[in-house]
C-alpha cells in the first residue's frame, strides 16, 4: 500500500486558462485529505482549474503536483440513454463495492432500473456521484474533482453524500466546485477565485456567509 494521504500542490504563479490567462495563484497552495470547496463567480475559471488539475488541459504557467489517483467528474457527464444505473454500476464499480453502491442508490431513491435517459437531472447526478465515489480505491490515496455535484440534488441525497465524504476523508481529497445555497454552510477549506487570483481561505467555523463578500 502506498502513502494513503493524498495531496495537491499549486505552485506560486500557477496560471490557468485555455489560451488567455484566467486566474493565477499568487502564493503556494497545498491541499491535503478532506473536502475543499472551490468558489468563484461564473466564468472565472472554476471548471478550468478542475480540468487543469485533472490534466485535461495544461497549465499556462507554474506547476501542479498531485499525489493520489485522480478522478474528475465533469458537470455535464452523461451515460448512454438506454443504460440503466444498475448496468452502469456493474460496468464501472469494482465488484466488492457494488452492493454498497446499490444500497446507497436505494436510500436516496434512485431507480436503478430506469434508463439513464429517462432519469431527472438530480437522479442522473446521483448516478454519476455514486459511480465516482464507489470507484475510489479504499487502499490508495484518491483525488476526486467534482464540478457542481449538488446542482439538481435534493437535500437528503446531498446529506448522504456529505456523510460519505466525512467517512472516507482519510485517504481522499475532494475538490468540489459549487454555488452554496445556504449561509450557514460550513466551509473550513476553500479555494476562491477572486478576480484573477486563486486564494486559499481556511478556518474552523468558516461559513459561506463570511466568504461570499469576497466574490463580489
Amino acid at each position: 500500500m502506498s502513502d494513503p494521504s493524498p495531496q495537491l500542490q499549486l505552485s506560486p504563479g500557477l496560471t490557468i486558462g485555455y489560451t488567455v490567462p484566467l486566474a493565477r495563484a499568487s502564493e503556494a497552495i497545498s491541499l491535503g485529505r478532506g473536502t475543499h470547496f472551490l468558489l468563484g463567480r461564473n466564468g472565472r475559471g472554476k471548471t478550468t482549474l478542475l480540468r487543469t488539475v485533472a490534466r485535461t488541459i495544461r497549465e499556462l504557467e507554474g506547476q501542479l503536483t498531485r499525489h493520489g489517483r485522480m478522478r474528475y467528474v465533469p458537470e455535464d457527464l452523461s451515460f448512454d440513454e438506454e443504460l440503466n444505473a444498475k448496468s452502469i454500476f456493474k460496468a464501472l464499480i469494482p465488484a466488492p463495492r457494488l452492493q454498497a453502491a446499490l444500497d446507497l442508490a436505494r436510500r436516496i431513491e434512485l431507480d436503478v432500473r430506469k434508463p439513464y435517459g429517462k432519469l431527472s437531472t438530480g437522479n442522473r447526478r446521483k448516478t454519476n456521484l455514486i459511480v465516482a465515489e464507489f470507484s475510489l480505491d479504499p487502499d490508495e490515496p484518491n483525488i476526486l474533482l467534482l464540478d457542481e455535484p449538488f446542482s439538481g440534488l435534493d437535500a437528503y441525497a446531498r446529506q448522504q453524500f456529505e456523510e460519505i465524504w466525512a467517512e472516507s476523508s482519510g485517504n481522499t481529497l475532494r475538490l468540489v466546485s459549487c454555488h452554496p445555497d445556504y449561509d450557514s454552510m460550513e466551509m473550513p477549506s476553500v479555494l476562491v477565485i477572486q478576480g484573477d487570483r486563486i486564494l486559499h481561505e481556511t478556518g474552523d467555523g468558516q461559513t459561506w456567509s463570511q466568504l461570499k463578500s469576497q466574490l463580489n
Partner: protein, 254 residues
C-alpha cells in the same frame, strides 16, 4: 477495462446487434427463396452464400460503423472520455477499449457468414467441400482484417468531427474499396491518366476481401502461397488506419 465493459454493456443493451444476427444467420435462408434460385436448385446454395456475405458486409457498414461513430462521439462529448482520462486511462487505451468492445459484436458477423456458408451451402463432393470451407475461412479472416481498422477510424473521426462524419468516412471508404476501385480501373483502361493510375494504386482494394464472386462461381480458395501476401496487404492498411485513428481520436470535444 472499465470503458470496454461500459461500451460492451451499451452495445448489448441497445439490441441492434440482434437484428444483425438475424440478418446474417436468418436472411441467407429467406433471400434465395425470393430469387431465381427457386427455378434452378443448383443456384440455391451459391445464392445462400452470396446472401450470407452480403448481409455480413451490410451489417458491418450500416450498423457496425454507425455504432462505432455514435460511441466515439458520445465518449468525447458526454464527459465520459474526460472522466476516464483523468483516472489515468490514456487516449490510446480508450480507443483500444472502445474498439475491442465493438469488435466483440462485429467480428462474429464474418464468423457467422462463414459458418452459415460452411454448414448450409457446402457442395456435396468431398474435395469441393473442403475447398469451400477453406474459402470461407479465408474470407472470414479477411473480413475481420478489413472491418477492424475501419471501426477504429469511425470511432476516432466521430470523436473529433461528429458521428455523421465518422460513419460516412468509414462507410465511404468501404464502398469505394469494394466497388469504386473497379470503376476506376475501367476508367483507367479508357484513359491512361498517371494521376488516376496512382490513385488507383493507393486505393484500398477491399474487393480482394469480398468472396461473393469466388463462392458463386466455385472458383476455389485463394492459393495458400498467395494468401499471406493478401493478409500482409490488409495488415498494412490496418496499421495505417490505426495510426491515423490514434492521431484523430480525442477524449474531449474541443
Amino acid at each position: 477495462m472499465p470503458l470496454f465493459r461500459l461500451t460492451l454493456t451499451t452495445l448489448f443493451r441497445r439490441k441492434a446487434w440482434a437484428v444483425c444476427a438475424l440478418l446474417v444467420l436468418g436472411m441467407p435462408f429467406v433471400l434465395p427463396q425470393l430469387s431465381s434460385g427457386t427455378e434452378n436448385p443448383a443456384l440455391l446454395k451459391p445464392a445462400l452464400a452470396q446472401a450470407a456475405w452480403c448481409m455480413a458486409w451490410l451489417s458491418a457498414v450500416f450498423w457496425g460503423f454507425f455504432a462505432a461513430a455514435r460511441i466515439g462521439e458520445k465518449n468525447s462529448r458526454s464527459g465520459i472520455g474526460e472522466y476516464f482520462h483523468s483516472s489515468g486511462l490514456s487516449a490510446t487505451r480508450q480507443l483500444l477499449e472502445i474498439w475491442a468492445a465493438l469488435m466483440v459484436f462485429v467480428a462474429p458477423l464474418g464468423i457467422g457468414a462463414a459458418t452459415v456458408c460452411s454448414l448450409a451451402a457446402s457442395p456435396a463432393a468431398a474435395d469441393e467441400r473442403s475447398m469451400w470451407i477453406a474459402t470461407n475461412f479465408q474470407y472470414g479472416l479477411l473480413f475481420i482484417l478489413v472491418v477492424a481498422p475501419l471501426i477504429a477510424l469511425a470511432v476516432a473521426v466521430a470523436s473529433r468531427f461528429g458521428s455523421l462524419t465518422g460513419f460516412l468516412v468509414s462507410a465511404g471508404l468501404t464502398t469505394y474499396g469494394l466497388y469504386g476501385v473497379g470503376y476506376m480501373k475501367l476508367l483507367l483502361s479508357i484513359e491512361g491518366n498517371p494521376l488516376l493510375s496512382w490513385l488507383w494504386s493507393a486505393s484500398p482494394h477491399y474487393h480482394f476481401a469480398d468472396p461473393t464472386e469466388r463462392l458463386r462461381y466455385k472458383l476455389g480458395a485463394i492459393e495458400w502461397s498467395q494468401f499471406p501476401l493478401l493478409l500482409a496487404y490488409f495488415a498494412g492498411i490496418f496499421l495505417l488506419y490505426t495510426a491515423i485513428s490514434r492521431l484523430l481520436f480525442r477524449v474531449k470535444a474541443a
